[in-house]
Symmetry: C2
Subunit: 693 residues, 2 copies
């Protein structure tokens, strides 16, 4: 397929009558197939107001756009449109890895240049993009006379909803996204009740706001998801909730230390504010809106990173079998342990190994205030022979995934990063899992503020310099930057598998992933670390995983990430024929089809592996049993496929019979259809390999 | 469990009246529980005659025992009983590996000393053993005045049957056992029609006779199997068939070269002639009669051999992908190929690798008359680095299984064997697959004659000297010698898997193994080389395997052998979750229970693995679909087991859907029962691991 970009100038349409309730002529932007429409106007006070429609229905009621600054008056109105343009773009770009190979980027864009009618006559522009599956807009702050930078105290972009939608939300925490999703009516959102979760090392929820992506279902059955794209040198946006007015507005993450939210030199763009709109929940996942709103890749050659499955010295620590630190007397990251993992990984088509707790300093992290300078990221504990493990792995085709826990002391990491990445480069290690556990040092900064956004970006830039891919935990949220920085391979930024090992609230409920795929996963790849087979966690009698084994398998397809962990202990995989699925499943895809789903209920995804032409299907359900019919019409019509089906046993149940599964080996083609029963907390996974001719 | 042997002298009973139809007082021997009875008498001509009863029913009508000699008159009667004794033996011995750990050996033995009433007044003795599951007897030739050896032209032991039983038989071939079993009435046995099978490199069927074990079912539903035990320095026995008289008699394999059948120095014992008797087909398999009739182990320490699963450079040759010889241009036994197999084996709990065609000489074997001195068993082909492969395997926990194809030139092998075994010993190789393909050199000898029996025995003795275990192909049949020579680990001696790859008669039918387990397997361990997953044999469009994959898996439990091959190509295992069963299944057992079966129809066997306490169950059927119920009451009552069930898919069929299988993961205990549908040519396999507490 040829990659092409085409630009078509379009006529800018002024709507004179009946378009909306605002008082000046409206500027109308339709998406290419006219599914979505954005209407822009200025209200009677000259305040910019936008409205969004989907196939004729109002999605966003007229909503204002305003900014508050330090040292200069707020921009709250009195504006005029001084110029405008519309163009049509048809673009087609290639992902180095990911959920599909070629991405179509087709939209109409309207740029409106605005200026205050009176002094100080500041100007700015708004870029609107209308896609058939959503809309986006961003602000462009142009050079201002006598001012070379601005300090933003708040961006006030309103999102006035059309009704009391059902919302899947996490609180607008400035430090962490690792909350369980709540499902409530919009009018019932109460984010501040989520404060002080006992299992979060850092959490700050100042307002009744939500983090994005936040997904909603309207009374008419439409699906909406609000987020931002290309979060660059700006504060992360939460959405404050007005539960009586059915309205949201942007509320940027701040810095108590600096007293503002964003400081930028002029000119600059804000991130895109995005609204995905779909008639089906599946459509949200199939949309490429977020990545499309980012810039093309900064690098031509990313071949030094290879998508992979990996294992790790990690889950055993969450199970309290071993520990990160040496002083505990049960240090997990030993040379022998790593070599044992390498042996098993190498034997099982798994080409990566994460080793946590390998470097000195773990005696002084969580619980200590002064964490600057503790980790140096280059000095192994004496029982861990880093170069020997690297060499042993290389010999067996298993590459180490480096681990850099910053303990939320980013200035230390900034100081050490060249040394640390140079060591990795010298060892031929091409990826790192970074961690930012705890409250940010310096005090007053938050994980999601501009200062940290810029830190996370510096790490990506350093990664490109040293050929290192980044898998950040406790990260800033994904906003599609993986298009620009393909080394942003995956990240955490959600409540992961490890909560099942120790959370005092009963662990992740069965609905967790059926919500996550329609919320967090819209932002980008997730390092969720699936694959627990010892569901009952024999080492942790008070904890368990609330899914079946078949559900765990399905996650390798359902979750999009070019790195996927097989997180359980070697001993828990041995003897399990179901482990064959983990051996076989791909991690990067030519194509993705969402075969069905409802937010928080279930999802079924089919993905075609690159190179091999194999297809894989994953289906998961929440706590309800569901019977679903899969049509294999996504397969090419001309050939038969060996299908290995991994499904819940007839009596499987996440609560008391989670390891009951059934595997079937059969043949299907594009004419086949088949019913699958997903038991409570269950699912199914299928591998499909072309029958050799 | 303590090993013990107890001997109890018993009263010798003379039956005066009504015991049988013979004319002299009969000597009666009952088995310990009086299930079997042997009656011995001399008929009116002084000919020894025995009769066998099972729970009151006649099994063997009065049958004569006679010998013909060279250079001295036949012993055809005119005998008298000069002495006799009976004793009770309770013995308990331990198998180093095998179908169970401790073997009970409980029987009553009667020894009768006979002498001719007239000159030359030769004496001999008959030893009768009555077990509850069968009877056996052997002849003892004592020192004779003025004669230090005898030349036997024929042993004429009759087995006069009680009716026209259903018989599962192969022809009494003097060179090979690799015939398909026929199922006929006794009166319909026509072994000579089996002559000149196009797929046998050597075959000689001089008479209408059958090879043993030969198994029968009587009109009353009793199961009989005739065989011999401890075949030492004697010719193999076929059983000639009198289809009108419903009678069989021993017919020894001869030597055209020497003109006799057996030559022995005095004194000596013949092999045991054995008749297993059971009310169920299952009982035949559970019987230890054959091994019990052999002497205790010649060695105390056999720890140098470890039971193992193995792979091999072997099946690819039968599929014509590669060849044994270098001149073909597609030599299979290359260093790289061996190392690839080692990689896969090592990764999959398989600890042995057979490499055929590794040594020079394969350009001159089948089809050449002069095969003496061709193979030297020490010189590798130039593209095979033997010591490198050995070292690579050792590093990965995979030991080579040496291959010595003698091409039926045993004198060459006798000359080379010390050098060959010394090389193996120096390399740390502890087992060899020997082969005897073709007509025996020198001409006039047959595989099953005394001369070859003694050759095969010398190889076993050499094996003990060099710590080498023997897996003979084209062997002499097993007669329980593995008790005495534990290094006789397994053997071929039946129509194996390879016939499926090229036999012009359609391959082994689905009933093949359901017959073999009740016939050939009663003799001892079988190297059948199960595990074909590419059932349709894509490289051989005219051939296929006539079973399902589930049937292939079940064979690892059904077939008894301390070595079991996973015979298929690596590429055919990849991606198959069913391969987990091969990874997991044991090869040596604490206990064996035959849960059900009918000869030629189906069989279900449960075996408990040594050390681990895991149980495995295998069930196979013939071309008929069968539903069977398994009661898990063989499990200990106190614990639960994780059960992984590998069964035919609902639509599986050996003919057109053989790879359709289903795997279930569940939990069972001793109270559980479950129905299994075995589809045509199908089966099921179960692994059962104790749930960790």
């Amino acid at each position: 397929m040829k990659i092409f970009v085409r630009f078509f100038p379009l006529l800018l349409v002024f709507c004179i009558l009946g378009c909306s309730s605002v008082d000046t002529p409206a500027h109308i932007l339709h998406s290419p197939a006219k599914f979505t429409t954005i209407e822009f106007a200025l209200d009677e006070h000259g305040v910019p107001v936008y409205t969004v429609f989907f196939k004729g229905d109002t999605i966003i009621r007229p909503s204002q756009m305003q900014f508050e600054f330090k040292d200069q008056p707020a921009m709250r109105g009195n504006m005029k449109v001084v110029d405008g343009s519309i163009e049509r773009v048809e673009d087609n770009w290639e992902m180095p890895w990911g959920e599909k190979r070629y991405v179509e980027n087709i939209y109409n864009e309207m740029v409106l240049d605005l200026m205050e009618r009176q002094s100080p006559r500041r100007s700015f522009s708004i870029h609107f993009r209308a896609y058939d599956d959503g809309v986006a807009f961003r602000y462009q702050f142009n050079d201002q006379r006598l001012v070379d930078s601005v300090i933003i105290l708040e961006e006030r972009t309103d999102f006035n909803l059309k009704g009391d939608h059902t919302v899947w939300w996490i609180p607008g925490d400035w430090d962490i996204y690792e909350h369980l999703y709540s499902t409530t009516l919009f009018s019932e959102i109460d984010a501040t009740t989520k404060r002080d979760h006992p299992n979060l090392a850092a959490t700050f929820i100042p307002y009744n706001a939500v983090n994005t992506p936040v997904t909603m279902k309207t009374e008419n059955g439409l699906y909406l998801s609000f987020h931002e794209a290309n979060l660059t040198d700006y504060a992360g946006m939460t959405l404050a909730v007005d539960t009586s007015g059915m309205a949201m507005h942007s509320l940027l993450v701040g810095s108590d230390r600096l007293g503002y939210k964003v400081k930028r030199a002029l000119p600059f763009y804000t991130p895109w504010r995005t609204i995905q709109i779909s008639k089906t929940a599946a459509g949200l996942i199939e949309s490429d809106l977020i990545v499309n709103l980012n810039e093309p890749s900064k690098v031509d050659d990313i071949s030094w990173f290879v998508p992979k499955k990996y294992m790790g010295i990690w889950w055993e620590m969450h199970l309290d079998i071993s520990s990160w630190d040496l002083a505990s007397g049960r240090h997990g990251a030993t040379t022998d342990n790593a070599m044992n993992f390498i042996d098993f990984a190498s034997a099982n088509n798994i080409t990566g190994l994460l080793v946590e707790g390998w470097n000195t300093g773990w005696e002084r992290w969580i619980g200590f205030d002064d964490r600057e300078g503790v980790f140096d990221f280059i000095t192994p504990y004496p029982d861990y022979d880093l170069s020997r493990v690297v060499a042993y792995g290389k010999d067996k085709g298993v590459e180490l995934i480096m681990h850099h826990e910053t303990s939320a002391a980013p200035r230390t990491y900034d100081q050490q990063i060249d040394t640390a990445f140079a060591l990795m480069q010298s060892l031929g290690i091409h990826s790192v899992k970074t961690g930012y556990v705890g409250k940010i040092i310096p005090k007053g900064e938050y994980h999601h503020g501009q200062w940290m956004v810029n830190h996370y970006r510096r790490v990506l830039d350093k990664g490109l310099q040293y050929n290192i891919a980044i898998n950040a935990h406790e990260p800033i949220k994904a906003t599609g930057l993986r298009r620009t920085y393909p080394n942003a391979i995956s990240r955490e930024g959600l409540r992961g598998q490890e909560f099942n090992a120790w959370a005092s609230d009963g662990g992740n409920p069965p609905e967790h992933l059926p919500i996550v795929v329609f919320t967090r996963m819209l932002a980008g790849p997730i390092d969720f670390t699936p694959g627990v087979f010892d569901i009952s966690l024999k080492q942790k009698p008070d904890n368990k995983v609330n899914t079946t084994i078949a559900h765990q398998l399905a996650l390798y397809v359902v979750i999009n990430s070019p790195i996927q962990m097989a997180c359980d202990l070697v001993e828990n995989y041995e003897g399990h024929p179901a482990f064959q699925f983990i051996r076989d499943v791909g991690v990067t895809w030519d194509d993705t089809r969402v075969l069905g789903g409802e937010v928080g209920d279930y999802v079924i995804i089919a993905r075609q592996e690159r190179e091999t032409g194999a297809w894989f299907v994953g289906g998961i359900t929440d706590e309800e049993e569901r019977s679903v019919r899969v049509h294999f019409d996504f397969l090419p019509v001309s050939r038969s496929y060996n299908a290995v089906i991994y499904r819940d046993g007839d009596e499987a149940h996440y609560r008391d019979n989670p390891t009951d599964y059934t595997i079937e080996n059969t043949v299907v083609d594009s004419q086949s259809e088949r019913d699958f029963v997903m038991r409570p907390g269950g699912g199914f996974a299928i591998s499909l390999n072309p029958v050799s001719k």
